[in-house]
Amino acid sequence: MDNAERALLDLRAMDELASMDSPYHRLSPLSKLVMTIVYILITTSFHKYDLTGLLFMVIFPLLGYQFAMIPVSTCFSKLRGVLPLVAAVGLLNPLFDRVPVFRIGRITVTSGMVSMITLMLKGVFCLMASFLLMATTQIDDLCRALRRIHCPRVITSLILLTFRYTSVLLDEVSDMTQAYSLRAPGQKGIHISAWGTFLGQLLLRTMDRADALYEAMMLRGFSGEFHYAAGKRSSRYSWAVTLAVCIAAVTARYINIPAFLTSLFI
């Protein structure tokens, strides 16, 4: 299986994950969207030295994955390509910020190290939350939810078509590389002399396919509205859950819960 094909399966697998059924899948798309945005905003707003406070925030995605019946490892295995980038964000902090905070044995922990870890965790937590949203909500439902909060039609159509376009693109890449390798046995990848024509063809073919798909949608009455996502019944508790999560997250932001709990016992 070549890379494009694998990427395509990954993308399709998201669709499949999203059409499963679980308590979390059943929450209304809009409430999930709001919950995710609030979570991300609060998580990123933690102070850069507030590592212990931030740690508590991992509870939310972990619970989410439990209720969605998706193993957390799915998220990490699918996002393994992006994770190092996210984690790399804070790498330089320890170089600039060398104020010692405490010592563990002979190692001095500096504030730069703390802020590096905080930054990394923020990135990872936000990724986990966004992945959870994508893995439990179909793209059409999400677009419809966005339309309901008056997000302009141009934007929702763009999101939807980008998603579809990506799968068409990957589809064509895998078809073309297959056709190529069948007639160029023994060659690894595509020879550099063929890249120009290959890319040109790819562009033309995907444009044609994307056009045809868009036409097919128009022929069946698509006008930028997402009617067909309507009527899927979502749980009555959606907004209650969202409200509870938001309150808990805000509380965790202003009260350092791990510290609070330790203070109860010590």
Binding site: D15, E16, L213, A216, M218, L219, Y228, G231
Partner: protein, 237 residues
């Protein structure tokens, strides 16, 4: 009712693909559109819902096809594309089937009930909850036909509906077409299917209407067919 009057078309920078095409499909009539590869069959069908803009006049159920009326026209027309890969864009077969009806105002339950009936008629209920990217070419073709039938259009256009179907599915398709009381224009190389389902045939070659008449007359005319790269239907040999 579907009327073509002096329809001409050429792709940008190309020679004419359709020249002065004139014929009509009466209400509830089934017409076969035949012709060699490149004769212009698909091009003619694409002009009906305005995917291509031809000169001349095309009328669908009394509405003239023009930019302002496209939405009305498209609502009346069901179009099975030549390539089913282009027809299906939702994750699951059932999602695709309710896409059209729901856009036109049905509730999800109504649309699903309608879709289930179509699936049963075609004998492919087992495909209902399958993923589009995990079904075979022929299954996808059947599903694509089902998505269009579920819209209950007034006028049906089909481009090679029977290609890549196994004999059983082909038979199911033929029976469904026969049962439907709709205006239909079917472009196909499957002359036996045309013979089985249509009452009239239009023969295209080089973008011109060469012959237009009773199905029996044209499909029995060996000389005419062979002169335009076609052969007698197998059942008549």
């Amino acid at each position: 009712m579907l009327i073509f009057e002096n329809v001409c078309f050429s792709y940008p920078g190309g020679s004419p693909v359709l020249e002065e095409v004139t014929f009509a499909v009466r209400n509830a009539e089934k017409v076969g559109l035949i012709g060699a590869n490149g004769a212009g069959k698909s091009t003619l069908l694409k002009c009906v819902p305005g995917l291509l803009t031809a000169s001349g006049k095309i009328t669908v159920s009394g509405i003239e096809v023009c930019r302002e009326k496209l939405a009305d026209v498209r609502r009346k027309v069901g179009y099975v594309l030549q390539d089913p890969d282009n027809q299906m864009f939702m994750p699951k077969v059932i999602d695709d089937m309710i896409f059209g009806p729901v856009n036109y105002g049905l509730s999800r339950e109504e649309a699903e009930a309608q879709a289930d009936k179509v699936l049963e008629d075609l004998g492919i209920s087992r495909l209902r909850d399958r993923y589009n990217h995990r079904i075979s070419g022929g299954e996808k073709r059947m599903a694509a036909i089902a998505t269009v039938l579920a819209m209950e259009p007034d006028v049906m256009l089909m481009d090679e509906p029977s290609s890549s179907l196994d004999p059983k599915n082909r038979r199911a398709l033929i029976n469904t077409i026969k049962k439907l009381d709709k205006t239909m224009l079917i472009a196909s190389h499957d002359l036996d299917m045309i013979l089985d389902t249509c009452s009239r045939v239009v023969l295209l070659d080089g973008g011109k209407v060469i012959a237009d008449g009773e199905c029996g007359d044209i499909l029995h005319d060996r000389e005419l067919l062979e002169a335009h790269c076609l052969e007698l239907p197998l059942s008549l040999l």
